[in-house]
């Protein structure tokens, strides 16, 4: 891998569903070692972008490079070095938490014993050790997210792609996950996350990009994005906010 290559470099990325462009000419560079927030309203194209980055949905046009390697030509090598926390579950309901982590580790080529050992440590780290023997079907939404995050860490990836990682996670769990992510960035990993919790993004991220209706609206450092006393939420609403219809709804 070229040493100076960015963690993610996408050029003129486009994804069409029928005649509708879910992602429309997205060009974006995420430097290595960066905590990058990828924001946008519902249906803006965030999940589609992450799915294309992971090679799960082929782009209609445009190019993707991850860790200096072209996708999909080097998909296997890229997947080996990425940790994914997707928006929808990739967990198998009829496995226990411990079994799933062992499975995930082995899928990344880790020896069975090592995968089981790491799995057990991760369960403890994510405070799931009491639930490790229970079927995933019995997990709450927050527990599932924590388990997905644990699975994403098991092979020590260099780059994390996370779609709404804090959704449904309680305050304690969210704090734990945030600390862990900050620690990962400190050791040199790159994090690319989407979240609707703008306070979290504001506190954690170095750089932010906002996408709206498939198009990149703005990209820059946190300082560049909002000026003066304006919060990230203010900037976000200013850039993608719709007309306030609330005033018209008398009955509400």
């Amino acid at each position: 891998m070229p040493e100076g290559a960015p963690a993610i470099a996408v050029r003129d990325l486009r994804k069409l569903y029928g005649s509708k462009a879910a992602v429309d000419g997205l060009t974006l560079t995420v430097p290595r070692g960066c905590f990058f927030g990828f924001l946008g309203p519902n249906g803006a194209g965030k999940t589609t972008t992450i799915r294309m980055l992971m090679g799960l949905a082929p782009p209609t046009s445009g190019s993707i490079e991850m860790l200096g390697l072209a996708m999909p030509a080097h998909a296997l090598e890229i997947k080996r070095r990425i940790g994914l926390v997707p928006d929808e579950s990739v967990l198998f309901d009829r496995l226990t938490g411990a079994e799933f982590l062992e499975f995930a580790g082995r899928m990344y080529g880790i020896e069975r014993a090592t995968a089981a050992e790491r799995g057990s440590e991760l369960l403890e780290l994510f405070e799931l050790d009491n639930a490790g023997g229970r079927l995933i079907a019995q997990y709450s939404k927050g527990m599932r997210k924590r388990l997905a995050m644990a699975a994403a860490l098991i092979h020590r990836p260099e780059l994390f792609l996370m779609d709404e990682p804090f959704e449904g996670v309680d305050a304690v769990g969210a704090r734990l996950m945030k600390d862990l992510l900050v620690e990962q960035v400190r050791r040199g990993a790159t994090i690319f996350l989407t979240s609707h919790v703008l306070e979290v993004v504001e506190r954690l991220c170095d750089r932010v990009a906002i996408i709206h209706e498939g198009k990149l609206v703005v990209e820059g450092s946190m300082a560049e994005l909002h000026s003066g006393s304006e919060t990230l939420e203010d900037a976000f609403v200013r850039l993608v906010g719709a007309e306030r219809v609330l005033d018209r709804l008398d009955w509400l």
């Binding site: 994804k15 069409l16 569903y17 029928g18 509708k20 992971m54 090679g55 799960l56 949905a57 082929p58 209609t60 999909p72 296997l76 090598e77 997947k79 080996r80 994914l84 997707p86 579950s89 990739v90 967990l91 198998f92 309901d93 009829r94 496995l95 226990t96 079994e99 799933f100 499975f103 995930a104 082995r106 899928m107 990344y108 080529g109 079927l135 079907a137």
Partner: protein, 530 residues
């Protein structure tokens, strides 16, 4: 074996074991017994093949073996399609995130094709043993030929499955394709009753062309011209591998969501909008809203549309030759096809009413409505579709020149609706006792739990008994009045039964709601069965 393949197999084994805590239940034992009988029949067929082939002359073998292998091939490749089950496959939605080389996934997928035609493995084992016992056949031939033939079928089945899955992702194409495949199932029956047409007879009069895979495999098995037949068979295996691998690779890169959206319909048509609004004219909310929701969601579900379409097409093709060949009176034809259509629709609209709602079924339990109202709405929506379905059967009958008097039309409607009463009564309870999440976008597959399928075998004739008794009264007493009286009695009994089942289901729903919701939210392991 590579680590990832071992990991997938291990995870599947764990999922399987975790899914059955506390030993086997009565339903599982029953299902096991039926499986034993089913595979026992095929094993017996294999044994019969073994005995016959062991004592056959070379001429008999040369004449019969290519056809036997053709039959095995047809069953292997078509049975999964025609029985609406593509067998087990990997859940790529979840596995695609891992760095697993495509060839490893392909290896597992090829091995999983064994699950779609285990019956044929039993038959081929019988054939192998029979040929090995026959002193006229060289010992090296049968193992080589049977093994190559199995590998050929596995590769081809893997490729066909990938190809079908991709084609089925396109909304309109999906239904047309499945309908065409399902109608193809009626071809042997049509041929049996109409006779083989002369062009087909002349095409195969001299036996199967030697270059085809089945005669080639038979020739290798018998040691006939190995210098020619062995490379030919190897060529077929290689071609099947290339086809399978190419289709599988294309399937891995295929974006189903994009394909799905490409064929998405824009807006509704006027007549369907009128159909959806009908409940508003007849009932008050929330019942009307619930019925309207059912009508809209069912008519947009590929699974439902397929069975609805099959009722008056497949049913027609299956039953018409039977009636014509036996010279039976065609007066009963629309009734029989309608009852068959109900049987097809039953799995989707009667037995597992909450299946398509999946997790969203919880709405019925937290919204301020009674569960009986939800069940009644689903029943009324089903009855409306039954009404339309019968109309389609009658229209098809009229188009094909089947005599339709007002009495026949009335009889068809009354019988179908009375039978529906019984099916709905049973469905109210089965939907709560045997709920199962069903993907409405999957055009085929089972909509109810395996053990319930078996119960249905006995339940359906039982539920049809009151209507059958009305016909028996007409037959024995030669009286239309007796028939009408019998039907009226069956309708009244059905109404009482429906009412009782609705009341019982309302009570059961409260006690079982947690189990129902958990069953409707259930997902599986790395391998999913369709």
């Amino acid at each position: 074996m590579p680590t990832q393949i071992r990991a997938i197999l291990w995870a599947q084994w764990r999922s399987f074991r975790n899914a059955m805590p506390g030993g086997a239940r009565a339903g599982d034992v029953f299902g096991g017994l039926v499986a034993l009988v089913w595979y026992g029949i095929w094993a017996a067929l294999g044994a019969a093949a073994s005995i016959s082939l062991a004592h056959a002359t070379r001429e008999m073998l040369a004449a019969a073996l290519p056809w036997v292998l053709t039959a095995v091939f047809v069953y292997w490749q078509l049975a999964p399609v025609l029985t609406a089950s593509l067998g087990a496959s990997l859940d790529f939605k979840k596995l695609a995130v891992y760095p697993v080389p495509e060839r490893q996934f392909f290896t597992i997928e090829v091995a999983l094709r064994l699950t779609t035609a285990f019956e044929m493995l039993l038959v081929l084992t019988g054939i192998l043993i029979g040929l090995l016992r026959n002193p006229l056949v060289p010992a090296w031939g049968p193992p080589v030929a049977v093994l190559a033939f199995i590998v050929f079928n596995l590769f081809l089945a893997a490729g066909l499955r990938s190809l079908l899955e991709r084609l089925l992702a396109y909304r309109v194409l999906r239904e047309l394709l499945v309908l065409a495949l399902v109608l193809a199932a009626a071809v042997p029956q049509l041929l049996a009753y109409t006779g083989v047409p002369p062009w087909l007879r002349s095409a195969f009069g001299g036996g199967l062309p030697a270059a085809w895979p089945w005669p080639a495999a038979a020739a290798v098995a018998l040691g006939d011209g190995p210098a020619m037949s062995a490379p030919l068979l190897a060529g077929w295996v290689a071609a099947a591998y290339l086809f399978g691998r190419r289709q599988f690779a294309r399937g891995m890169r295929f974006d189903a969501a994009a394909a799905e959206s490409a064929g998405r319909a824009r807006g509704g048509r006027r007549w369907t909008a009128l159909f959806y609004r009908l409940p508003r004219l007849l009932f008050a909310d929330p019942l009307a809203a619930l019925i309207e929701k059912e009508l809209r969601s069912l008519s947009r579900s590929p699974r439902f549309r397929l069975v609805f379409l099959m009722g008056f097409t497949f049913g027609f093709v299956i039953w018409l030759p039977l009636f014509r060949s036996h010279g039976s009176s065609l007066a009963l034809f629309p009734v029989i096809v309608s009852c068959y259509a109900l049987l097809l629709m039953a799995e989707v609209v009667f037995w597992n009413m909450f299946g398509f709602d999946r997790s969203s079924a919880q709405l019925y339990f937290y919204a301020p409505i009674r569960v009986w109202m939800v069940l009644a709405a689903k029943s009324l929506a089903a009855a409306m579709f039954v009404f339309v379905e019968i109309g389609m059967v009658l229209a098809m009958s009229a188009l094909t020149g089947i005599p339709l008097s007002p009495a026949v039309v009335l009889e068809t409607y009354v019988v179908a609706l009375v039978l529906s009463e019984y099916l709905l009564a049973a469905g109210n309870l089965s939907s709560l006792y045997y709920p199962r999440a069903v993907n409405p976008d999957h055009s085929w597959g089972r909509a109810s739990r395996g053990r319930f399928q078996l119960i249905l075998l006995f339940l359906f004739p039982l539920l049809a008994l009151p209507v059958a008794l009305a016909y028996a009264a007409r037959y024995w007493l030669q009286s239309g009045t007796a028939f009408a009286g019998g039907l009226a009695l069956a309708a009244a009994l059905g109404a009482l039964l429906y009412r009782a089942s609705l009341a019982s289901a309302s009570r059961v729903a409260e006690a079982r709601k947690e189990k129902v919701l958990s069953a409707l939210a259930e997902a599986a392991g790395p391998v999913v069965a369709h």
